[in-house]
């Protein structure tokens, strides 16, 4: 009989493991630096001055708390659960990514690092990192797959305007996985002076825990806001998952509330029955990549296979290790939405609520459209609207054949 832990919120252990997942699978060159980072983070976490500075920036610079908005027209159209959006797309830089980046760049400063590198898929993490580096006057290099450079051109321009150097990566499928490989290669050569700002709850320990901690502001605000709005906790949480940072930020503060149903939505690309998807939890199995053990899309031998999603931010063959653990514990349900469903949801949200969502978040919208009608009207559903779709406008306009003149 598998036993249920007393709490789902105590992980990871001191070696960075969540059950069999997580850990520190990195080159020896990086190990001492990762241990140093862990120590520096633990000290910062316990330091009221660091926390105070972060809180100030989140409030005055990023614009937190983000609203919890009752989407009335969307709710009526679906005819089931009462749907709230956590409006993290209204943050400065347009997504939840800034929550984590402000924390990490503050930490980089504190550690005396003089250069910051980051990987990015959709460019949201890259833009957030470039923004924080401009604010703190630190040189910034962002690695981005060259396919993503093309499909997320507005974000590339933003990063450059903010003073960051964008390095297109041509290796492999030239998407997020390859950008992360290249960032790790840079870091091995520069680790004594460079801080690697990872954008999601993946990578070697302490990154998955650290990024989660910085993103938990999302769920903590929802908890408070929902108590104010409805006088009780939400019943259902929905968020999209690539690496899984916006989802973890929303989910983690609710993991021990048994009444809260929690659903993560992976990208099913052209369908789970094809080989072109990015649903590592549904279609993958445990393996070791990018510093951690987690669910991965891979062949029989353990060669990593290419992911596919219309959304550059979800186009990754892995997922954060804590999600892998939560899947195996059965605490979180992991489902998926296809490219077509996401594009359909994108359009529905534009027209019903006047909100242009990011293609990543559109996957959460798509699943909300599926599940809300099956739930009773008093079911309080919170969906994390993790990013805005400005960056996707050219791509969607082309796909839908929207005429400019």
């Amino acid at each position: 009989m598998p036993t249920t832990p007393n709490s789902f919120r105590t992980g990871p252990d001191e070696r960075g493991h969540y059950g069999i997942f997580g850990g520190r699978y990195v080159a020896e060159t990086l190990m001492p630096l990762i241990l140093e980072l862990e120590q520096a983070y633990n000290e910062a976490k316990a330091d009221p001055q660091f926390q105070g500075e972060l809180k100030y920036l989140l409030t005055q610079y990023a614009g937190r708390p983000s609203p919890l908005y009752y989407a009335e027209r969307f709710t009526k159209k679906l005819g089931g659960a009462k749907v709230y959006f956590k409006r993290d797309e209204l943050n400065h830089t347009g997504s939840h990514k800034i929550n984590n980046v402000l924390g990490q760049v503050l930490l980089a400063k504190r550690m005396g690092k003089t250069r910051v590198i980051a990987e990015t898929g959709a460019g949201q993490h890259g833009v957030a990192t470039a923004t924080a580096c401009a604010l703190f006057d630190i040189p910034c290099v962002v690695f981005m797959g060259s396919v993503d450079v093309d499909r997320q051109a507005p974000n590339v321009a933003r990063m450059k305007m903010l003073g960051a150097e964008v390095r297109p990566v041509k290796a492999g499928a030239a998407t997020l996985k390859d950008a992360m490989n290249e960032a790790l290669r840079d870091w091995v050569a520069t680790c004594e002076t460079t801080f690697y700002c990872i954008g999601t709850v993946a990578g070697p320990h302490p990154y998955p825990a650290m990024v989660r901690d910085f993103q938990c502001v999302i769920g903590e605000e929802v908890r408070k806001q929902m108590m104010e709005a409805e006088g009780r906790l939400p019943d259902t949480l929905v968020a999209c998952i690539g690496g899984g940072s916006n989802a973890m930020g929303l989910f983690h503060p609710f993991l021990d509330d048994a009444s809260v149903r929690i659903i993560g939505v992976e990208a099913a690309g052209r369908g789970l029955d094809t080989e072109e998807h990015a649903a590592s939890l549904t279609g993958g199995r445990p393996g070791v990549l990018h510093g951690n053990r987690t669910y991965l899309l891979q062949d029989k031998e353990g060669q990593i296979t290419e992911a596919h999603s219309i959304s550059a931010g979800l186009d990754y063959p892995g997922i954060g290790p804590e999600h892998s653990w939560l899947k195996e514990q059965g605490r979180v349900e992991y489902v998926s939405a296809t490219d077509d469903e996401a594009v359909e949801a994108f359009q529905v949200l534009c027209k019903l609520e006047g909100i242009i969502p990011a293609l990543e978040s559109s996957h959460a919208v798509a699943y909300t459209m599926k599940i809300a009608p099956t739930l009773p009207k008093d079911n309080l559903l919170v969906m994390n609207l993790s990013g805005r779709g400005d960056k996707d406008v050219p791509q969607i306009a082309a796909r839908l054949g929207i005429q400019i003149r």
Binding site: R15, G23, R24, Y25, V26, A27, E28, T29, L30, M31, P32, L33, A171, G172, K177, N181, L184, R185, V188, A189, T190, C191, E192, P286, G287, V288, L289, H290, G291, R293, L296, Q298, K300, E301, G302, Q303, I304
Partner: protein
Amino acid sequence: MSRIEKRFAQLKADKRAGLVTYITAGDPDAEISYQILKGLPGAGADLIELGMPFTDPMADGPSIQLAGQRALKAGMTVDKTFDMVRRFRKETGDNDTPILLMGYYNLIYQRGAERFCKDAAAAGVDGFILVDLPPEEADELKPHAAANGLDTVLLTAPTTDDKRLPAVLKFASGFVYFVSVLGITGTKSATEEAVRTHVERIKRHTKLPVGVGFGIRTPEQAAAVARHADAAVVGTAIIDHVKAGLDDKGKAKPELVPGVFAYIKALADGVRGVRKA
């Protein structure tokens, strides 16, 4: 005594350092790769590292990345890598030259550490060098490696300080691999002075032989490393010679294999020219 221990004991008796050569298994295809493997000891290699191609080689520079892609494209697998080693032991009758598998942990994890170690030992493999398996994560592999007589060669780096070294060395056997520069394979080279300082430092902590790699390209550089370390490891520069022997379509030209051997012979001459106390 393992083959690796025996080989280093012999090198010591011969008063010289060893040459460790890296090739990617299956590059540019299984047959040519085997022809190279077969001739390495004759060209002057004292130990052989056989790279297992992986889709995401995070610690490797462009040369070894591309070699891995060529091998995977030509259909290389873990079983075929074992076959190469088995065939080498059988056809050459060479039962003395150590062969180490080098690569990334996921290929081992997918087969299961226990089965992987059994299969590797049965094929005639002597040990592992796993780039992304620091001592902190090595306890899953170590007992199975030991049970099958396989050495686990751990990496140390310039960032591995005196405080951390004992933790790394606790899991190390065969020899210690000192990564002489910060960075990925085949990009920069260490100075002779830096090599000397670090090798002396490591030797204060262990009786194991120390091999030094990353950035060695010329016979002179190999000789400089041989003056201070027990072995010089060359990888990227050999792979570059494999690549130079490919035609426009990626097929091996007749001069590929002899070209690789001529280069390795020059490296070996450099290493063997250094007399040790």
